[in-house]
């Protein structure tokens, strides 16, 4: 086989394709089955949220809502607690993301465009810091915020989120900055730009997708985060959406399942939409970061 195909690449190419094609239908079926299995918990969440109350507790369970109703969503949307939690979640998330994107951009530029004493150390630190489990720190983080009077507050929780988000986003963004050749900036500097204007006019626009991906990543972490929110927001009325959802669903016997599922769906949908839009850029940034270091 090698002898006949060695010199003629096109022939070789078609051969491998046909070999791969033979089992492709089988793999396709397997993949679709896995996709269905993976998506089922999400489908079931939406399905249950749409089901009329009397059908929800029927056996056998209805695999699709026959008379879908928005009653459960209506209930959630009219609950004051939901909107309070939504406001709190939004404030914490937006504050964390705004600060993190700026911080990550500064850090990424420093590490990507400059050589300086301690650069390697900072790079290693960026990696190592991500290994510190937040779960091993929350006792003293709780006491620190307590001491500063920042428990149950937006800045307090946001500060902890920034500590979590900055190292990863910095690293991700560094991959994007590395991808823009420094020579472009240097060319602009030869043409009379200062270093700063060269960066803002040449590199920054090219970093657009990277900045969006970074911001979205930060948004996801802060929006979805549960542990620290649960610990730091100890008073009853201040909570983020994940904490609200947990208190909403904590008692299994009396749980309004349609309501809980509607709440879960409402929290998840914006995240799912945004995520699908940017996941490609995000994965690329992460892989670039991983490969380039």
């Amino acid at each position: 086989m090698a002898a006949t195909t060695a010199g003629t690449t096109p022939l070789f190419d078609t051969k491998t394709r046909s070999a791969a094609n033979r089992r492709r239908p089988l793999w396709n079926v397997v993949a679709v089955l896995f996709a269905l299995v993976w998506v089922f918990p999400i489908y079931w969440m939406v399905n249950s949220a749409l089901m009329p109350e009397d059908r929800l507790r029927s056996s056998p369970p209805l695999l699709a809502p026959i008379h879908p109703t928005l009653r459960a969503f209506d209930q959630v949307v009219h609950s004051q607690q939901f909107w309070t939690a939504m406001g709190f979640s939004l404030s914490v998330t937006l504050l964390s993301v705004a600060v993190c994107v700026v911080a990550a951009l500064f850090g990424a530029v420093a590490l990507s465009r400059f050589s300086f004493i301690g650069r390697r150390g900072v790079l290693i630190a960026v990696l190592v810091v991500q290994m510190v489990p937040a779960e091993a720190l929350f006792i003293s983080q709780y006491r620190m915020l307590d001491g500063w009077g920042l428990l149950n507050s937006v800045p307090g929780l946001s500060l902890l989120y920034m500590g979590m988000i900055v190292p990863f986003t910095l690293w991700m963004l560094k991959g994007f900055v590395d991808g823009v050749p420094a020579e472009l900036e240097e060319a602009a500097m030869v043409d009379g730009c200062s270093r700063f204007t060269a960066f803002t006019r040449v590199t920054l626009p090219l970093l657009g997708p990277g900045l969006v991906a970074t911001g979205v990543f930060g948004f996801l972490v802060a929006w979805n985060e549960y542990t620290l929110a649960f610990i730091v927001l100890a008073s009853g009325d201040r909570m983020t959406l994940p904490v609200w959802l947990k208190t909403f669903s904590s008692n299994l016997q009396e749980t309004d399942w349609a309501g809980v599922m509607a709440g879960s769906t409402l929290i998840a949908v914006p995240v799912l939409v945004v995520f699908i839009l940017v996941q490609n850029a995000m994965t690329k940034g992460m892989v670039a970061g991983a490969v380039k270091g």
Binding site: W38, S59, A110, R113, M131, I276
Partner: protein, 325 residues
């Protein structure tokens, strides 16, 4: 990436991915010496404030005693290594640690297996099924953990859950009304592991797949010409080439699965009996915030941190040795 390679190797000989220092370093002027440090003030400052300072404080606290007197404003007492001896001589601590490591190892191994399997599978698919699987994975990845958990709790609900309905309808009558979370420690961890794996497989798959698509197909074709079969190619060519990404993801999985808190905490809210289902994260919480024993909890957390570092040390070294850093 292409333009990167074109512009960084003017002589055509240098390794294109040598890193930014090699190409930009010598050209810097003196005036810019302070700039990188100024740029780093904000990110480094934030991390130091949010994580560095608590880390130091926690280490200090692990040598202190917090009792009733401290709740009324007395400064904490220094007790030396007392907290550590308390923690390490408590058999329950070892139970929880062993449980955590076992849970972490099982979850990480299964996640990596399924994740890499999916990535290899994605390569063999037609467009439609490939997009379907990718979308399903991305949805699972992005799901807020608490939403996903709520869905899993509902799926395994004893009387109306789909899982019990399915099992009883295929003849396993024993599952009628069976409570996965409360009745049995093993099924509790089964559900917890499922949610953890369900969420983390997508990251492994999509990163591995992204790395696979960046592979040089010529190398694979060359090895095929040399007579390497599918499995040999996978083992000797493909996997070594995507090794950096796989190692990185494996390391992240181990860290995440060892410190898992959200899943256990939320599921415990349904199950009751926390002592039978505590892992290190929830144990630290129960001791510290729940029980107010900050000293003991800090010692526990320090031990937990050491375990994480020990487990990831080898991976860290491998990553650093690649010379990319």
């Amino acid at each position: 990436m292409v333009s990167d390679q074109l512009t960084t190797a003017p002589a055509g000989t240098a390794r294109p991915r040598r890193g930014p220092t090699a190409r930009t370093g010598p050209r810097r002027r003196r005036s810019s010496l302070a700039v990188p440090y100024l740029l780093l003030v904000l990110p480094v400052g934030l991390v130091c404030l949010a994580m560095g300072y608590p880390l130091v404080r926690q280490f200090v606290m692990s040598f202190q005693e917090f009792g009733l007197a401290q709740q009324f404003g007395q400064p904490p007492e220094w007790v030396g290594l007392q907290n550590y001896t308390d923690v390490l001589s408590d058999p329950y601590f070892w139970v929880v640690t062993a449980r955590s490591i076992a849970f972490c190892a099982a979850c990480a191994a299964i996640t990596m297996g399924i994740g890499i399997g999916f990535a290899l599978l994605l390569q063999k698919l037609s467009t439609g099924p490939r997009v379907a699987l990718q979308v399903a994975l991305v949805l699972a990845w992005a799901m807020p953990p608490v939403s996903a958990l709520t869905s899993y709790i509902w799926l395994t609900e004893p009387r109306y859950g789909v899982v019990n309905w399915f099992l009883t309808s295929i003849g396993l009558e024993g599952f009628a009304g069976f409570s996965w979370l409360a009745d049995n420690q093993w099924t509790f961890f089964g559900v917890a592991a499922t949610t953890v794996i369900w969420t983390s497989v997508p990251l492994v798959t999509l990163m591995t797949y992204a790395a696979l698509t960046q592979l040089d197909t010529e190398v694979l074709e060359a090895s095929e010409l040399d007579g390497a079969g599918g499995f040999a190619r996978l083992r000797h060519v493909t996997l070594p080439m995507i090794r950096p990404v796989v190692l990185l993801v494996a390391m992240l999985e181990i860290i995440w699965d060892l410190k898992v808190f959200t899943q256990i905490n939320v599921l415990q809210g349904v199950a009751g009996n926390n002592d039978a289902t505590n892992l290190l994260g929830t144990y630290v919480y129960q001791t510290g915030i729940g029980g107010g024993e900050y000293g003991t909890a800090s010692a526990l957390a320090t031990v937990m941190l050491l375990i994480v570092l020990l487990m990831t040390w080898r991976y860290m070294r491998t990553l650093m040795k690649q010379g990319d850093i």
